[in-house]
């Protein structure tokens, strides 16, 4: 029974996707909402089953390591429930939004396949199963990216697909190396880096972080993200940015904080510490770069996508801090998980707001919009909640998780008094200010500013409203009851990690969020945000366009072009050389042929044997050359 629940989490969306091609078109909307809704409730049901202490797992019949293994535990299920919830909300939204798009059948087919993949990732019990679903997400998301069939979409799709495939291959290689070294691919701590682990394991871990990092949008592997997310239809952007990049985060947590964490009795945590430090800095770089890029965007969807990069940086920093602190890392990990949830909610909501605006105005440029609160009051309201959420205004969810993450980075810095980590904390603050500024700007330009264009009364459609309400309500819930959330959701999820239990209780569960110090920090960030906003608007700094050489993609294109140039050069040389050689052998051949023919009394024949002989001679010479080469070298 329980196993059926587990399997149907993955199979229900797949069946729904296939069914998409069978149901008549007029009930598509209801059908989609039903499939997404059922999936959500199945996941929820599974969550409660597991919470009541039931062990739910499924083992494919083929044994390790290539067999399929699923297992539902609290941490994965939290992600699963979150994913299916946001998916459900976005699906409802999309039933109205997709009226403006063509090719809905195909869109929803891949939409549901991606959901299946995402849920599969969260429920996998070993690395190869995880990889299977991870690749499913990668491939199934491609049609969503290129759905609009415009040149920018194809461009972005190509970059996305190539990077996703490369990331997937890095993962395979990483897993193979770990398997060679450790002989297991179990996700539950059996491959711990526990003193004296070999170079292969390190290499494997690095490759896996790279592979997951591509999907998560970790700097410098983020370059596909700001291109690919905005070009998709908005529901897909919301899910790409809100949920799908989290599969990368999920993978990193699984690999770093779970599979490679030594067990409690281990004395030596140095290796995890190093890995944690590296990830922390990657996270800090990601958050800063992301927010910097976001400030310079004019396209609102692109701006939101850049913020996704930035927010992923927050999460990575939490993960890194947790790994760095080892068994005392509960704050970092709790913060990372909390922020993952929050980001999914507010980024989903923000994309839906942007989508609703685009649906009614067909305009994505922030600077050409304005004054929309009058015509779209409901959307403006949800936009306000979500902006408060992401900017970290107290009483909204972003404030809670950012505060936890701030605690985590301070704890990490104070742990061994590493100076660089104090710098990281300052960058954290700066990023907070940047984020605040960015959303002040977003909200001001979109809703408050007086507009040159006048809009007729817009009727906000009901499905869009419902979708946005779901996410907005969740944002409020997660902001208003932080300690309840920590106790009900985060603590059970942390249970399966190697963490000191009393540390969880002392440092995480009993956190008081509304004290002067934490509020003061947020106040500084918000004031900083206002200052940057005014400066930026006055000086026009937001309109700066970075020179193209600063983009990572530019570098990639350069490398690609250089490769192609080199290849063309070499192949031209090769063909010229070959032509000359052929000519030469032909000449020799025809002369030899004359001699041969004079000897051949029969005359004629079906083929020019003379020619044939000399080609053969050439081949034999070539092979003899290789033989000599081989004998001398080997």
């Amino acid at each position: 029974m329980a196993t059926a629940f587990l399997l149907s989490c993955v199979l229900l969306p797949v069946a729904g996707a296939i069914g998409m091609y069978w149901v008549p078109e007029r009930i598509h909307k209801i059908y989609m909402s039903l499939v997404a809704g059922f999936t959500f409730f199945t996941t929820l049901g599974l969550y409660f089953l597991v919470e009541n202490g039931e062990v739910v797992s499924y083992q494919g019949a083929w044994g390790s390591p290539l067999g399929l293994r699923l297992e539902a535990e609290s941490f994965g299920l939290l992600f699963a429930a979150l994913s299916s919830f946001v998916w459900f909300a976005v699906t409802i939204f999309s039933t109205s939004y997709m009226d403006m798009e063509t090719g809905k059948q195909r869109f929803y087919f891949f939409f549901l396949l991606t959901l299946a993949g995402t849920l599969g990732v969260t429920l996998s019990a070993d690395m190869l199963t995880l990889l299977l679903f991870f690749e499913l997400v990668s491939l199934a998301a491609y049609p969503l990216v290129v759905h609009k069939k415009t040149e920018p979409a194809y461009d972005a799709g190509k970059l996305y697909l190539n990077m996703a495939v490369a990331g997937g291959l890095a993962l395979v290689l990483g897993m193979a190396l770990v398997y060679t070294d450790r002989g297991t691919l179990n996700l539950w701590g059996e491959v711990a880096v526990n003193g004296g682990s070999g170079l292969l394991t390190y290499l494997g871990v690095a490759l896996m972080v790279i592979g997951f990092g591509v999907k998560a949008g970790m700097v410098p592997l983020h370059i596909w993200l700001p291109k690919a997310h905005p070009v998709a239809p908005t529901p897909a952007s919301a899910l790409l940015s809100g949920i799908m990049i989290k599969t990368g985060i999920f993978g990193i947590i699984r690999v770093i904080n779970m599979a490679f964490a030594p067990d409690m009795e281990a004395l030596y945590w140095g290796e995890l510490e190093t890995i944690g430090l590296i990830i922390t800095f990657l996270g800090v770089a990601t958050m800063l770069l992301g927010v910097f890029m976001a400030l310079l965007q004019e396209n609102m969807k692109k701006m939101l996508a850049c913020h996704s990069v930035s927010q992923i940086g927050y999460i990575l920093m939490g993960i890194g801090a947790a790994a760095y602190l080892g068994p005392l890392g509960s704050v970092g990990l709790g913060g990372a998980i909390y922020h993952t949830i929050n980001h999914a909610l507010f980024k989903g909501a923000l994309f839906l707001v942007a989508g609703a605006v685009y649906f009614h105005t067909r305009e994505l440029n922030l600077y050409r919009l304005g004054g929309l609160w009058k015509v779209m009051p409901f959307t403006a309201f949800i936009g306000l909640i979500a902006s408060f959420g992401i900017a970290g205004v107290p009483l909204f969810n972003g404030y809670i998780s950012k505060t936890i993450l701030h605690h985590a980075i301070v704890e990490a810095a104070e742990y061994k008094n590493v100076n660089l980590l104090f710098t990281a904390e300052r960058i954290f603050m700066l990023t907070g200010a940047g984020t605040a500024c960015s959303f002040i700007k977003f909200y001001y330009l979109l809703f408050l500013k007086r507009s040159k264009r006048s809009y007729e009364k817009i009727k906000e459609t009901r499905p869009m409203k419902v979708g946005m309400v779901f996410l907005g309500a969740a944002i409020l819930l997660f902001g208003l009851g932080p300690n309840l959330v920590l106790e009900r959701f985060i603590e059970p999820a942390l249970d399966i990690f190697v963490l000191e239990h009393h540390h969880i209780e002392d440092h995480l569960l009993t956190l008081n969020f509304f004290n002067v110090k934490d509020l003061g920090i947020v106040a500084i960030a918000l004031v900083g945000g206002f200052v940057i906003f005014f400066l930026g608007m006055r000086t026009g700094a937001f309109h700066l366009h970075l020179p193209s050489w600063m983009g990572g993609e530019y570098l990639g294109q350069k490398v690609g072009r250089a490769y192609q140039g080199l290849w063309n050069f070499a192949s031209r040389g090769y063909y010229e050389g070959r032509d000359e050689l052929t000519e030469m052998t032909d000449r020799i051949g025809s002369r030899g042929g004359i001699v041969l023919k004079s000897l051949d009394k029969r005359g004629g024949g079906w083929a020019n044997f003379a020619n044939l002989d000399f080609d053969l001679l050439l081949l034999i010479f070539l092979l003899l050359f290789f033989l000599a080469e081989y004998l001398l070298v080997a």
Partner: protein, 470 residues
């Protein structure tokens, strides 16, 4: 009994020759179907081999071992499907002789697969060139004749090398029989390192011609002028695999892992790795779909060889599994390419924008096979890749890099077909003649299923591997 296996297709071939031009295709499908069943039965129940003494110490011999059986059981159903496909493809053409040669090639391949020593293998290796040459020049154009000539030159030169290797080997050891795990002791290599090496080199170079090691692969891309059923079956499965099969026989049944390890095969490994990478890199540059697939074949074939040369069980499993995986996936890709050309006349990748609308099922099959070849879990290609990677970390980067290149040259075909707008309209009834479409879909589905139920072939491969390592 075992000789009957190889001779039956020749008899069947004469039945085709006696039919009229119009009915040749139909008859050959029936004959091939019957033969495949009969041969399959005989093969299943026959145990003992056959030896025909030429002179003392040297005989023509056939034996039934796991490896040969595996190869035979792989080609038999593929031959049947390819014949059905060929019937659809050659519809309305005078193709009696085509079907005749198509069928007798089956006999040759079976003779190769079940050959019990190198001499027999060599003879059938030569025969294979002769029976497939008419298929290459089937269209009769100037280009085809040119390609046919190149094919002959290269094949005979290769066979010449095999012969040289055979003589050397016989002179050194007095035996050319295939023995699981090899019969060349370390003593021989200690006493005659140079000649052992030379013999190995001659054999590798000789079989490497049909196995398409770069730079002795030239015949293969040229031979793509042949009708697609030929390219699909012969240049993706039978002929090239005959070369690779020869390499397997040489490295596992003549030299054996221990002897190879003491000879030192770093150079040959590097050669195979170079072929993998160069093949994929050249494929990336091709706009002609069939050429792209041809170079892809060149790269993929060396996977098998390199896997075996890693000289450990995982590498061997990987190589043998890829033997199967590549056969199924590449023949599917070629079938799809054939349907595309046959139905729309497009031969270039750049012309395929939006063709998914015209040929939806074909392109889905193409997509599945591409995904399989790149090695997304759990497809056939992934299983072999996984074993390749866990065989030897030092060489794993070659496979990963090549897989990435595979994605770079295969996925654009799929994305173009489905996600670009083109000039194609949806099909009215069948998108292609059922004789072509159904085998393609069957193979794509079969490859998908085998990727999920990979234990079945894997266990068979394990038995082969055990006979060699023990």
């Amino acid at each position: 009994m075992i000789l009957a296996l190889c001779l039956l297709p020749f008899l069947g071939g004469f039945a085709i020759l006696r039919s009229s031009e119009e009915k040749a295709g139909k008859i050959s499908v029936i004959v091939t179907g019957l033969l495949v069943v009969i041969i399959g039965f005989i093969l299943f129940f026959t145990k003992e081999g056959l030896e025909i003494l030429l002179w003392p110490g040297l005989e023509l011999s056939w034996q039934i071992d796991h490896l040969g059986k595996g190869f035979s059981f792989l080609v038999l159903p593929l031959w049947f499907l390819a014949t059905i496909y060929a019937r659809g493809y050659m519809e309305g053409q005078k193709a009696r002789s085509f079907f005749f040669f198509y069928l007798i090639t089956l006999g040759t391949v079976l003779g190769l697969a079940l050959a019990g020593n190198l001499l027999t293998y060599y003879l059938f290796y030569e025969l294979l060139t002769l029976t497939t040459y008419p298929l290459v020049i089937q269209t009769g154009t100037r280009e085809a004749r040119q390609a046919g000539k190149t094919y002959l030159i290269f094949s005979f030169a290769g066979a010449g090398f095999v012969l040289a290797g055979l003589f050397l080997l016989y002179g050194l050891t007095g035996s050319v029989a295939f023995v699981p795990g090899g019969f060349i002791g370390q003593g021989l290599i200690a006493t005659h390192p140079f000649w052992a090496k030379t013999a190995l080199f001659f054999l590798v170079a000789g079989f490497g011609v049909k196995g398409a090691l770069i730079p002795i692969h030239f015949w293969l891309p040229g031979a793509m002028v042949a009708p697609t059923p030929v390219s699909a079956l012969l240049h993706a499965v039978a002929v090239v695999k005959a070369g690779i099969f020869g390499l397997l026989r040489v490295s596992l049944y003549i030299f054996g892992p221990a002897a190879l390890a003491s000879i030192g095969i770093g150079g040959i490994k590097a050669w195979a790795a170079l072929t993998i990478l160069l093949g994929s890199m050249i494929a990336l540059q091709q706009d002609k779909l069939k050429k792209r697939l041809a170079y892809s074949t060149i790269g993929q074939l060396s996977y098998i060889f390199l896997g075996v040369l890693l000289l450990n069980p995982a590498g061997l499993q990987a190589g043998l599994f890829h033997f199967l995986a590549h056969a199924l996936l590449k023949i599917t890709l070629f079938f799809c390419a054939g349907i595309i050309t046959h139905e729309t006349g497009c031969t270039k990748v750049s012309e395929l924008d939006g063709i998914g609308l015209r040929l939806p099922r074909t392109m889905v099959a193409f997509a599945l096979a591409s995904i399989g070849l790149v090695g997304i879990p759990f497809t056939l290609g992934f299983i072999s890749k996984w074993y390749f990677l866990s065989a030897d970390p030092a060489w794993s980067w070659v496979f990963i890099l090549s897989a990435f290149l595979n994605a770079l040259y295969l996925f654009p075909v799929v994305t173009r077909a489905f996600f670009r707008e083109g000039k194609f309209a949806p099909p009215l009834q069948w998108e292609a003649s059922p004789a072509m479409l159904l085998p393609t879909l069957f193979l794509a589905g079969g490859a998908l299923l085998l990727g999920i139920f990979f234990r079945l072939p894997l266990e068979f491969i394990n038995t082969i591997q055990l006979t060699i390592t023990n």
